[in-house]
Every structure is written in C-alpha cells, then in structure tokens.
Amino acid sequence: MKYLYLLIGIIAILAFCILFLISKLIGAKKQSDYIVSVLDDIEQGNMNRRVLAFNNDMTSNVCYKINAIVSHCQEQLMQNTSIEQANRQIMTSLSHDVKTPLTSLLGYMDAIQSGVVSGEEKDKYIEIAWRKAYDLKEYVDMLFDWFKLNSNEWQFSFEAIDINELTRNIIIGWIPVFEKSGFNYDISIEDKELCLQLDTKAYTRIINNLLNNVVLHSSGSLIKVGIEHDKNHVTVSIIDNGKGIPQSSIPYIFDRLYKQDKARNTKGSGLGLSIAQELIKAHNGSISVQSVQNERTAFIVHLPLAR
C-alpha cells in the first residue's frame, strides 16, 4: 500500500515539475516572440525602441545588451543628423546673408551703370558700393574660416610668442578705425615680454573679431584693452561702455548663427564670436562675457601660460 502512495507522490511531484517547466518555456517563448517583434521594429528604422525585461527573467541580460547596442547606434545617428542639420542651417543662412547685401550692391551698381546718377552723387554711390563689396568679402572669408575650423582643416602652428608685443601691433592697426568710429581707447599692456604658445594668425583673428564686435555692435564711446597674468594664466580683457547685452542673450552669444538684431541685416554675421571661441579653445583657453545693460560689456579671454 505504502508503495502506491509513494508512487502517486512521485508522479505528482514529477507532474508539477513538468508543468512548471512547461510554463517557464511558454513564458520564455512569449518573451522571445516579444523581443523579435521589437527587433523587427528597430530593424525597420525605429531606433528609439527598446526591449523591456523583468529582472528575474532568464532573457533579461540579453534584453539589456540589445538596448545598450541600440542606444549606442542611435547616439551616433543623432550626432550625424545634428551635424547635417547644422550645416543645412548654415547653408540657408549663407544664402540669405549673401543675397541681401549682394542685391543691395547691385542696386547701386545698376544706378551707376545706367547713368541715373552723376557727379557727386555718383561718387557717393561708388563709395557705398565699394564698401558693401568689401563687407561681403569679409563675410565670405569668415564663413570659409568657420568651415575650415569645423572640418578640422585649420592648420595650427604654435610657437612661443610675446603676447604683449603681438597685441600691441594688432591694436595699432585698429587705431584709425577707433577714431573714425568715435571710440576713445585705453590700452594697458606691459612693456615686459610675456611669452606663451600661440598661433599668430589665430590669435590675430581672435582679437580682430572681438574688436570688430565692439566697434560694430556696442554703440559705445570707450574701448579698453588690457592684458594681465598670474602664475598659470594670461587674461586678455576687452571692455566697452556701450549698450550691453541682455542677460537672456548671454548664453547664446557664441552661437554661430546668433545675431541680436532679428532682421539680420547689420554688418557682421554671428560667426565672428563663434570663430573666436573655437580658436580660443584650440589654444586650450576659454572666453567669457559679462555685461551690464547700457553700461558696460567685458569679454574676458583666458589663455594658459607656457611652461
């Protein structure tokens, strides 16, 4: 009799075991089907899709790995898309920023050519057209610089340069522009030599862009340039007493397309500051801006001192 109970007991246990294993198998098959359906969706291009798993499931590790791989691929894809988008934006902005001044320039040339103006007015037109042509050239040059920088084609050559001497020379070239635009200037640069690793062309461009920005956009009357240093850094500051930059714009000011004037027709694309920032980064430096509206704007450039 005992043996019968034992037998029934063993069969019952075995039955439960088998049922348990079957249910696990069905569960695994369902999960596997689910994973395949999600993978189908991902294969069709939906890189945002992820597989959801339950931690005590035997397939969960596979799910996590799949998700990690898809995440990684998606990140790459998004990066490429955003670069494409940025370039497209530049292209449209370029066509717009070139079209308007070019059309305007042609208007003057047409008037001169067709003899509509003569004498003094004609001379005035010629001067305006000449200036517009150069503005356009400058813009196109800046755009090429930007492209070169962004596709890592700008060849830097760093050497030990006396930043005080170099900056002084750059500013001497600007003095006539300051005077013509009604700016008083205050330069405080030491006579002593102060050497650091610089790419002359790049540094010149940085200072030129910053000074250009002040002259064109600050509507100020005084520009101060100063160079100071401590043990580790050189600080170049360019300060004006103009209309300032609103706090809400400050985070965007180095954005390549940013221009405060919404019509985007004043001279100077948003590229100037953006290029300056990129060049400063290439020197392992940093740039920051502080501004009080209608009082003062200061651009501060930090560069590491050569050992």
């Binding site: 069709q44 291009g45 939906n46 890189m47 945002n48 899709r49 992820r50 597989v51 959801l52 798993a53 339950f54 931690n55 799910c63 996590y64 998700n67 990690a68 998606q74 990140e75 998004m78 955003s82 717009h96 079209k99 308007t100 059309t103 305007s104 042609l106 208007g107 003057y108 047409d110 008037a111 004037d261 919404k262 019509a263 985007r264 027709n265 004043t266």
Partner: protein
Amino acid sequence: MSDYIIKTHNLTKRYSEQTAVNNVDLNVRRGRIYGILGRNGAGKTTIMKMLMGLTSITSGEALIFNKPFKKGSRDIYSRIGCIIENPFFYPNLTATENLNVMARLRGITRKNAVEKALETVGLPYNDNKPVSKYSLGMKQRLSIANAIQHEPELLILDEPINGLDAIGIVEMRNLIKEMSAKQGKTIMISSHILSEISLLADDIGIINNGTLLVEGSFAELDKKNRKYILLQVSPIEKACNLLEQKFGLNNYSVEDGQSIRIYSIDIDVAEIVKTLALNDIAVTSIQTCTDSLEDYFKKITGGEGIA
C-alpha cells in the same frame, strides 16, 4: 515607419451637456517637440487623457504609433511615458521603492534603470525619505523619473513645469531639449504660458474652448507674425537701392520670389509704393503684418490672452 507618432481625426469628448474637446485633428511628428497651447480649461489635459486611455473617447479616432488606439491596448503604454495631473505615489515608500514597483510592473530596459532615472532628475537613490515628506518640486521630479525610467519613445507631459522653482524650470527645459535633441524622443507638452512653449516647441497647436484653432511649426508662425511689410517688386535691386537711399531703410531682407521684407512698420507704406512706382519699379503685392505672436494669440483666443 510613419512620420506621425500621434494623429487624431475628429477627436471629441462630451460630458453630457458640455463638449470639452471638439473635433480635434492633431498631428504630432516623430522626433519633435509638440506644444499644446491654450488657456486653462481649454481642453489640453482632456486630450492627453484620451490619448492615454484615462478617459473614454466620445467620438473620432486617434492613431498612436500608426495603430488605431483602443482603450486597453496595453502594449503601447510601455512605449509612452506620461505625467498627467498629479501622478500617484505610495506615500510611505521612498522614491526608489516607488520606482521599483513601477519597474516590476512595466519592465526595465537596463539593469540600473531606477538609479539612472533618479540621477537624471537629481533625486537621491536608495535613501530613506518617504514620498510623503517630499515638496511639490520633488514630487514633480519624481514624476518625471517615473515617466522616463523605461526609456519610452513618446512622452506626454501635462504642464511639466507646474510647481517648479526658477532653477527647476530651467533644468526641466534643458532635460526636455536634451531628450529631444540627443535621444530623438517625441515629446508632447501642454502649457498655458506662451514664453515657455516658445523656448521649447518645434510645432505648436493652439486650443481654445475645445477646438484646435491653428497648428503648425513654431518657426513658421513666428515668422508670419513679426511686425513687417512684405513687398513683391521688380526689379528688386533697384528697389533695394531706393529704400536705402531715399528712405534710409536698413533692416530689410531679400527673400525668394523677388520679395523684400521690411522689419519696421512705422513707415509710410503708401509713400514707399508711390516712390517705387514713380521710379518704374513694379509693385505686384503688398502685405502688412502688425501683430506680434503674442498679439496673434490674444486675438484668436478671444481677447484676454493666454492666462
């Protein structure tokens, strides 16, 4: 793979006598941030509730992930993260424990899903503070963590900055922007504040009294609604020349189709057209827009503005 994550046709919600949502045709595009803008009580939350199956649809249909949405189609919920009104959390459990409960119910996409979600919103992991002791801002952040922990493709957020302080608002904004830009998620947010939506949304839909008044890309709407005068002229170079010389105008831009958009409206349009005509310049169309985007919203929502 469809371009629209959410598409509704004649979506309607009626509560006995009152029609809360009236024949709304909404289109939310993949990978973009869609902002629903409307005054309090306009129907924004009701629409979102219908999309999440939290309230029944009276008539009309909704397509989510390109499949017709029926109440109870639970498999799509794992692909959506949402915050609608005040989500419920077990007050005696900590944040981590609450999220673990959700993880067990919903599944997770990575081993440390809960930890990562809490880290993203700046809440502590595995601490001892029960949710009952949380401030409104912390509860809101926990809601966000709950909405993103299963890495959904679509986020539906009802007034996500409600209850957040100034810093929290900026953080939330940055998080939403990052999820859209870096992870390509589709996000639908609702707000009654135009300035918030303008900083975030790629596309917007304006709702008033249950009706969708206008829908489109934010950039388009903004462009159409800045104060300007749009003239179609020929020859365009001569026109530019005239505008600069005779009227001293500088903030204009040349656009496709031989048009000039002038950005100051306090000029005499009649005088300009007369001068152009007298100089043999054909003016084929004139458009003036004197509303800013804010004015436009006030106008179409019946005068009291977005409150």
